[in-house]
Symmetry: C3
């Protein structure tokens, strides 16, 4: 529950309208009620703005005339909305303190302001900093470190010797520090290479549900500050990800790949092992990166679906491209083509 | 253990042979014994039917003469087999009642016929309807609702405020209602947009192992009635999936996509965000949907593997398609080509 | 902590230098200290070897002169390193014995040398052999069997009637034996086919974090001896995988596919259902296998990313391949082309 004055302060904006109006919830332009705050960022939504019932709308100065209700003028309505959303986060179901059914090793150091949910296990040598919240059925392996105000949700497993920074959020089912996938061929079998490294995660990192980050072989797997990983991402051993890089769901990065800062990967991007990707590289959804990328910019490799009948002919033509290319070469022969 | 008469009643079929014959197990035509029921649906299996030892075979009237043993004549043997299979489901390991090591909030309403496994946690405000079965190490977050006769298997996490319908089955490791992946750029960092919506799941929905369904940003993520989701599927925030749509393993649907009814997605299909797919669309395995699909039908976009030596030349030719196209244009110039 | 003599015995090598030198850790050539063992396998690393500070390096006889410090001459340095690594495995955080917060059914047979972690559940009829270690929050379903010296890490779920061999390692979050994905169409809905088979896993199998292996419909899903599966792999019902086959992260294999021995799949390979792949087939990362592979060898089908501007033209040209092919045919007509 915030007044327009309080919201304007939070987002560094200017109220036009009733400054004492109280906002109790957030909503899209379409579903907003008199109690709601909404935002206008996309000129395709001008019709929705016109008909909007929101108690207040965040918008840019130049769009001010498009809405007759209460408004707060800001530079970047989407960012302002993000900032407001954090005040409306649902905290009703948070556990507080150490649950009596949690198991804490006598050798673990858990800060008195931290909370640990039922049936969670904190092993020996673990350090849990102030304000940390662990969900239920969580395991924190021996000698791991969890930084201040980090949230680790239900059924997460953190293997031994992992290091998690401050203000991180790790969603349910994520597995941090499982064994990397390393084998040496031995006759026709595979000999396990024990994975003796760890996982080091910076500050302000988010990790999605059921995402897996393997520990390193000898050196560590390293996730930089401010990295955001969506659900079901697979990060293999010894990968390094630079600060503020963001990856959508189901991305997979193979062993020892090094990814720069501020990169942006769409869903299901694949990166092969031992590659380097420089800073500020964007890879579109489902892109297949099998060589190092040494130049910043945008990359892609996926083919959109077609009707199956059309696609079958396309595949047939792709499969005879070599023939078509030779044919073209033969047709152009008189001109002495390459 | 059922007699042929009981089975015929169940599947609306006609017994030809010993009506009192007792069936104790199900098997394929190849492995069936005298105690087994099998079914014949595929004319490629005529040889197997001929040699079959089953106590009874479900088949179509027109195939009746192909089998000399006991048989039950039905319209659709595969469907009839599905119906029988439900009677032979293994229930020996079901837990019953509230396990003494389960934690139930005093403010939760758990129907007396429901069961909750060991080390599971049911939070405040949760409503669990009749006949619900929760496995072990399950977490049901605050104020969630679980409809009658739904089964939630071991190590599933249901976040707060989720709504699950009746007769659903959620397999182990599924995560329902984790935070959607929403950030606003703020200088060179990412500002979290708190995800304040929930997940609403209809009746008769199946959700596979380690599948993740994120909660909505403001509005809810909605899964319709009769939807069937296989393992390791990722459904992002605010997605809507229409009734009776079915998706095979590893499908990923990005944020705010709206998918119609009775759609059928092969494994590993990808759908980008904010798209619409109409009813009755089939997308073949690994298809990449990056535009809305407004016409029902079948779609595809994947290229089959080739021998690596051949494939390398194919890729080289794909990468010089622009050159080849220009060459063709030049060759055809006299005819005033497009 | 091993002496060079002990290490040489282990890897069947010959010490050149101080046989009593004690090694306490493993490291790469770059980060090795006087206490470390390292290995030299790749002639691209000759510079690193030259500057290396390791207490001992494993290398081939023919490279012996490249390093002036202590060395152990071996046939295959990478394999020798793998064997040494197993002696340096971190065992400090292992639980021992049956934790007082573990629940063991009175009808389960747990060998006295086995250990079971806190909040784990071992159901009725389960057999746990000698030396088995179960992590925390693990569920072993009724009548399952776990072979000698197998390790099952935290938050793993093994469904009822599964069979796991000896010396296996199953990483956290893996789900073994969830229901296969089988439905018969019934009007416009889907009728569940109950999955009555099980999962059978051989000896020396590794299974990665959050990998899922479904139980069979009637017959079993079968994983051969020595199979190595990385994280987030999906194995559908009734799949059979031959001995010593290895699969990198995010591979998906659809129902009833049969995969041979000693196959090698890169990350994110997809295999459609009901196919057969013979022994010794390698499929490169992200390859799409939609037909049986009857000849051993290497297969691929993925297109590398390009700059988006280039890629857009490539896709446009792929989509008009049919037109280009016709054009070529028309141009070549006088020569009576196919």
């Amino acid at each position: 529950m915030l007044t327009l004055t309080e919201i304007a302060e939070l987002v560094n904006g200017v109220v036009v309208g009733d400054e004492n109006k109280v906002i109790t919830d957030l909503a899209s332009l379409k579903t907003a009620k008199q109690s709601s705050l909404s935002f206008y960022n996309d000129t395709k939504q001008a019709q929705l703005l016109f008909a909007c019932q929101a108690g207040v709308v965040l918008l840019r100065k130049e769009h001010s005339t498009l809405y007759s209700g209460n408004k707060i003028l800001v530079k970047d309505p989407y960012l302002a909305y993000a900032q407001v959303s954090q005040k409306f986060k649902d905290i009703s179901c948070e556990s507080r303190g150490i649950h009596e059914k949690a198991l804490i090793s006598h050798n673990a150091a858990v800060h008195p302001t931290a909370s640990v949910g039922a049936y969670s296990i904190v092993d020996q040598g673990v350090q849990i900093a102030e304000g940390v919240r662990l969900g239920t059925n969580v395991r924190i392996g021996a000698n791991s470190v969890v930084g201040a105000n980090t949230v680790i949700e239900d059924n997460v497993v953190i293997y031994a010797r992992s290091s998690i920074g401050e203000r991180c959020c790790i969603s349910s089912g994520a597995i941090i520090g499982a064994s990397g996938f390393g084998y040496a061929p031995n006759s026709q079998k595979w000999e396990k290479i024990e994975q003796l490294g760890a996982v080091k995660i910076g500050n302000d990192v988010d990790i999605g549900a059921n995402t897996t980050i393997d520990r390193g072989t000898l050196d560590d797997t390293i996730i930089g500050n401010g990295v955001k990983l969506d659900n079901q991402i697979q990060i293999a051993h010894n990968v390094q990800i630079g600060d503020n890089t963001i990856m959508a769901g189901c991305v997979a990065v193979a062993g020892s790949a090094r990814i720069g800062q501020r990169c942006c990967f769409g869903g299901r991007v694949s990166v092969l092992g031992h590659l380097e990707i420089v800073d500020d590289v964007t890879v579109y959804s489902n892109g297949f990166v099998c060589n190092s990328i040494r130049q910043k910019g945008e990359y892609a490799s996926m083919i959109p679906v077609q009707k199956v009948s059309v696609w079958r002919r396309t595949v047939a033509n792709i499969n005879r491209l070599e023939y078509l290319a030779k044919k073209i070469k033969a047709l152009g022969k008189p001109e002495n083509d390459r």
